[in-house]
Amino acid sequence: MEVLEENDEEEQREEELMKALEISDEPHNIETKLSVDQVFVPSDVSDFDWSSIDISQLPSSYKTNSPREKKLLRIADHYLQQYTHLCPDRKPLFLYPVNECGIKKFVSTTVRPTLLPYTELYHWDGCASFVCDYLTMEPLKSPLIPPSLLYSPTTILKYQRGNCFDFSVLLCSMLIGAGYDAYCVNGYATHDICSLDETLEVCPLLRKPQEVPKEIMKKSNKYRVKSSPDMQSKFELQQEAKKKAETEATHKNEERGEEKVTEVEKPTHDPLYGLRVHAWVLVLSGKREVPEPFFINPFTGNSHSTMDEHFLGIESVWNHKNYWVNMQDCRNGCKDLIFDLGDTVRWEIMLSETDKPLQVLLDAEEENELFDRNMDDIQEEEEDTSFAMPPSWVAPIQISPREFETRCSQGKKVILYKKAKLEKWAPYLNRNGLVKRLTVYADLGCTEVVEVREWFKNREDMLDMRELNKQTQLTTEYFSPGHLLGLKVHIYKSMEPETERVMEFYNEARVDGLQKRAENASEIKEYFVGRDDFKYFQHTEFGKRGKKISVAGARTDINSRPIVQMKECFHRNLEKPADEDVAERVFLITEEMIHLTYHLKDKYITASKKDFFKPTENYRKQSEIMTPEMCITYQAGSSVKDKKLLHLYKLLQELTEEEKQLKQQVRQSEAEVLNILKIRENEEADIKLTVSIYNTERNEKRKQQYEATKNAMEDEFPVHEEQDLDYLAPFLIQIGHPEKMTKGQVLRLRDDCLTDFKNRLIAKANIIQARFEKEVEELKKKNQQFQENQSQLSREEEAVFLADYSETMFRIHIVALRLNREKQTAPQKYLALEEKLRKDPRLAVHLSHA
């Protein structure tokens, strides 16, 4: 050991360092006491036997160490020795665990940065949720010490299970690949985090989004009316306030009582608190617009602030390039840690790097001085500074689309939260498209169901989510855009018509702008948005069914409920004057009355009104079609300037017409409700899932089509080929396709065929030869011409000739080459044909004998 040879001065220095370190060591002192008497073995030991995995298929990098890796291990060993010497009280570092092939590998080389081709995996939350869904969690063999084994991410992915270190390494690889400044962390956390116990957590789906209080900047106007003097007794107010305070106090007491109850729910004190080893991922700010550092717990995929009290301490962090040891005090958990890895006092770096930011570079020099004083081998030091992390030994991480989609092993995952259970399925696994179900319970024991929420995917009826409230028996269904009739939300107790229900619609997709329709046995309320006639609300009241047929509303359809009253409300239409713009229109069917209320005029407090009494039969018989008694008018702000009866009559006629239409409309909307209910029932009875046309695996139709075309192609192709290659055909035709051929015929056929082929080859060679000669002749001619006229030629003409000359030379060269080749290959071709003919089934019988 080199350390033994150090001189006094260095010893002193070291002591100082040790003193500094002692502070941070304190929480670990407990460990020595505890680890002796108990080693907690988790009850649910995995049934998976890692020793049985197949390692024969793994690449050689898994089974051996390259020279650089060996050197790295040496450096790491050295580093560890110094570390144990300097900080003897701290736990040994997690530096080079054994991989699945039993080879020591440095942890940084196990990280294999990979960007996977899925858009979801481009963001940290997508990666984290994939990792936590895809892998099954295994507890550490011993919760107090880091594992001695660390498998490659590829193996972990293959078997879909692993401990927190495996999770972290995989997640870290993906995050670094996606461009994040991510690190694996080896540290300590609470029992809940380490054992993936979320039963004390509120389910993230149940967490209410924090409402951001909207700050309305109200500019105070200096012109404000002073409110009328306050005549209330101050004393009374005081008394009231006192009372209020008292009641509040009692309330608080009660609440406190409740709090006590909730405290009971809190976990009992964990004897191993602060000692449980955990691995997670740290993402530092700077890259990918991350504003501040945060942790990701790989088991849950959730992000945590670095102040989170569940994380109790950090031993070391590493990424694919380097390894840092935390030298900061972790007594208060991770709250006070400063994540500036360039700070050598707080973070002890293993490999001083060159590709780190400048600040780190500067620090690195200091650090070398400080740390390497312990070394007397200067060469080693030099080597150390220049050494870069070797590339990862792990094969590229690959996830097939199928695996990516299936997510959890066997496509199902169950998570228990505080008073809630969350189940997840892979899409298309369930026949009804169910992908997620959250069951909320009233008690901690999870016996009494309060609410069930189900999420669906790829459903043809666009059902997105269904919420069933067990207490109120209310079912709420949420639909994505695209459902028939623009249905958005459907809240109901039963599917029976004319019971209490609320339907919300995508009003943009509807012609009538209907946004919501609330219904119960005796009324329908409809809310509209963005209509041209400014109507925003319609309320219809129904009477008891089948009482009297003489009731006006029942005449159209005896089965339907008689309409008693219809009310419409309108927004202000700015194109009309206010007292001609109807705000509310009430049709009292049974009383044969129509009430009109108009909008308020500017600064007026009373609205104009018109009450029509519809002419009864008696009136009709008389010639009077309109009398002043039939309409009571109140015109705000104008002395009774009665409008002419003519106008009133016209208005009444219009209103009667509209009443008819409105009635029809009400019937239509009743029919629509029935229709929707029927459609919904049919849809629920026969649930269909949609498949994207790009999804070739799932899309049966496409697959069949594809295969059909492929088969068709195959069918066609061989025929074609055969025809092409039937060299005997022309000769067979000559002898007239005999069923059977005599030996003489066959021989003649063969000879004919061969001679024909020979002739063709010779002809071909002759053609090439002729071409060659022609080119040469031409060249000669040209050359001669050039020689004769050389003196008269201008420079340009000369250049043209030269270009032409070189081109001709090139052609000659090519032709010569071809001729040569032809000469060489011709005999071979001839032999090949002869061979082929011998093997031809039609001739084989005779030829083989021959």
Binding site: K222, Y223, R224, V225, K603, Y604, A636, G637, L646, H647
Partner: protein, 522 residues
């Protein structure tokens, strides 16, 4: 028409004819009702007077709200008496004997005009009909194809009918028209095809291009003029028009002949230049200050109205709430009275209701009184603030005007000095410069010269005073009008509200009384 063609008796539009025409339009049942009640010509929007042998248009002034008028198939010779029908959209004057287009200037909303089959020989007098979309002037006496160019000004014209005019015989008629009216969709009942349009453009672009250029220029000029006018308007509302430059200074010397003569004296020119520079800079200051103050005034006024609006909205809501409460409560009560079993009960209920109405009236009036007090205070505040703004403005303007006057005084003194010096020199014959004769004449007598300089000075001072006076009086007027308007608005509002309350209460009472009538005393 029962009469034979030859014995047409010319008619003039009279009340009887109109009455008949209006009644004809109504359906039978309504007609009866209308007849009994009498028809108000103001309510009529459409009128058809075809085939009535009308010679002269008259008596149509009552139809203020007419939008559609048909006068086709008459013997009208002159378009007249249509000035008051400003809402007219549709006018049919086809099959008449009209010779000149005229009398349409006020019908700015006109979209569809038909002058088919008349005797018109020139398209003219239609500049105001910018809304025109359909124009039919077929079968007339139009001979000059260049007349069509006139129609370019109707930017919304899409349908045009020119058939049966003499110029339609000309070979290039269609192309010429299409080229000159590029947005035309239908010409002579036919769709204008794209090929025709392209052909027309390629053929006549030499005519159209300069035309377009000219129009664009005219438009640009107009816009510039408008912009300038708008700016001037803005300056005027700020009371500092023509102060951003040397306008005022120039106006000082505009009618001052003496100054012009004095300017020839040696050294005066330099003096004048320096004076001008100082003066203009003071004017500029004043101008900028004026604009700034104007913004301040506007902000103050708008803030006041914002506050007022808030107060009024709150008041309206409060009143509305009271009334709605009352109405909800009393609907049932009216029913009760209506269905009361005995007269006594009905009577007591009625009395109760009456009481309620009085109570409501009381509440509403109290609210109104309260509002009046509040608003009065508000308006007084406003008045005070406006007064402060106005007085500071006036003070500052006065200060700047005093600067102008100082400059003038100083200039005057120097001018006097130079004049006298020159005079002395001249007397001593030491003057070496060449001066015009009339100026030389001045340099004879000292008193005349001094008088002259003084007159010039006085003229200048007067001009400055006048400008100052202008600004001040404008400011005072503005102050009075703004505050006056606020007070007047409030008074009007109060009156309206009180009237409304009374009317509403009366209405309620009436309703109550009418119910009582239905209840026979036992």
């Amino acid at each position: 028409m029962s009469q034979s063609y030859n014995s047409i008796k010319p008619n003039v539009i009279d009340d009887e004819m109109l009455q008949k025409a209006v009644e004809e339009r109504l359906p039978e049942d309504i007609g009866k009702l209308a007849k009994r009640e009498g028809i108000d010509f103001k309510d009529v929007t459409e009128l058809q007077l075809s085939f009535r042998n009308i010679l002269q248009i008259d008596n149509l002034w009552q139809f203020e709200n007419l939008t559609k008028l048909q006068l086709d198939n008459n013997i009208i010779e002159k378009i007249e008496a249509l000035e008051s029908l400003v809402h007219l959209v549709w006018l049919d004057l086809s099959f008449n004997n009209i010779e000149v287009i005229e009398g349409l200037d006020t019908l700015v909303k006109l979209q569809d005009l038909s002058l088919y089959n008349n005797r018109i020989s020139k398209i003219e007098h239609m500049d105001t009909l910018q809304e025109l979309q359909i124009f039919s002037i077929g079968k007339n006496n139009l001979t000059a194809l260049e007349d069509v160019v006139y129609l370019r000004r109707f930017k919304k014209l899409r349908t045009l009918n020119l058939t049966g005019n003499p110029f339609c015989e000309e070979e290039q008629y269609v192309l010429f028209v299409v080229a000159h009216i590029p947005d035309l969709v239908y010409l002579d009942f036919k769709l204008v095809s794209d090929t025709t349009r392209e052909l027309a453009v390629s053929k006549y672009h030499y005519l159209i291009d300069p035309l377009e250029h000219e129009e664009a220029q005219a438009l640009a000029q107009l816009e510039e003029k408008l912009a300038k006018q708008k700016e001037l308007e803005y300056h005027k509302t700020a009371f500092v028009e023509y102060l951003n430059g040397s306008f005022l200074f120039d106006s000082l010397y505009a009618e001052d002949t003496e100054a012009a003569k004095l300017a020839y004296l040696p050294g005066v020119d330099d003096l004048l230049q320096a004076y001008r520079k100082d003066f203009v800079s003071v004017c500029e200051n004043l101008f900028n200050y004026g604009l700034k103050e104007y913004e301040k005034r506007e902000a103050e006024v708008s803030e006041f109205y914002k506050g007022l609006h808030e107060a009024l909205t709150a008041n309206q809501q409060e009143g509305r709430k009271i009334i709605l409460d009352f109405e909800n409560r009393n609907k049932e009560r009216l029913d009760e009275i209506h269905h009361a079993t005995s007269y006594n009960i009905a009577e007591s209920k009625r009395a109760e209701y009456n009481e309620d109405i009085l109570q409501l009236s009381e509440t509403l009036m109290t609210l109104e009184m309260q509002t009046v007090d509040q608003l009065e205070e508000l308006i007084k505040d406003f008045e005070k603030n406006i007064a402060v703004i106005a007085s500071t403005f006036i003070e500052n303007v006065k200060g700047m005007m005093a600067q102008c006057r100082d400059l003038e005084n100083r200039h005057h003194e120097k001018l006097l000095e130079i004049s006298i010096n020159t005079l002395e020199k001249s007397v001593k014959n030491e003057l070496d410069e060449d001066l015009p004769d009339d100026v030389r004449e001045l340099l004879v007598d000292k008193t005349t010269l001094v008088n002259m300089v003084n007159t010039s000075h006085n003229v200048h001072l007067l001009k400055i005073d006048m400008r100052e006076c202008d600004i001040l009086s404008n400011t005072y007027r503005w102050q009075a009008s703004v505050t006056g308007k606020a007070f007047q608005n409030e008074i009007d509002r109060n009156r309206n509200r009180v009237k409304e309350i009374f009317q509403y209460i009366d209405n309620l009472q009436e309703q109550l009384d009418s119910i009582e009538l239905l209840e026979p005393p036992e």
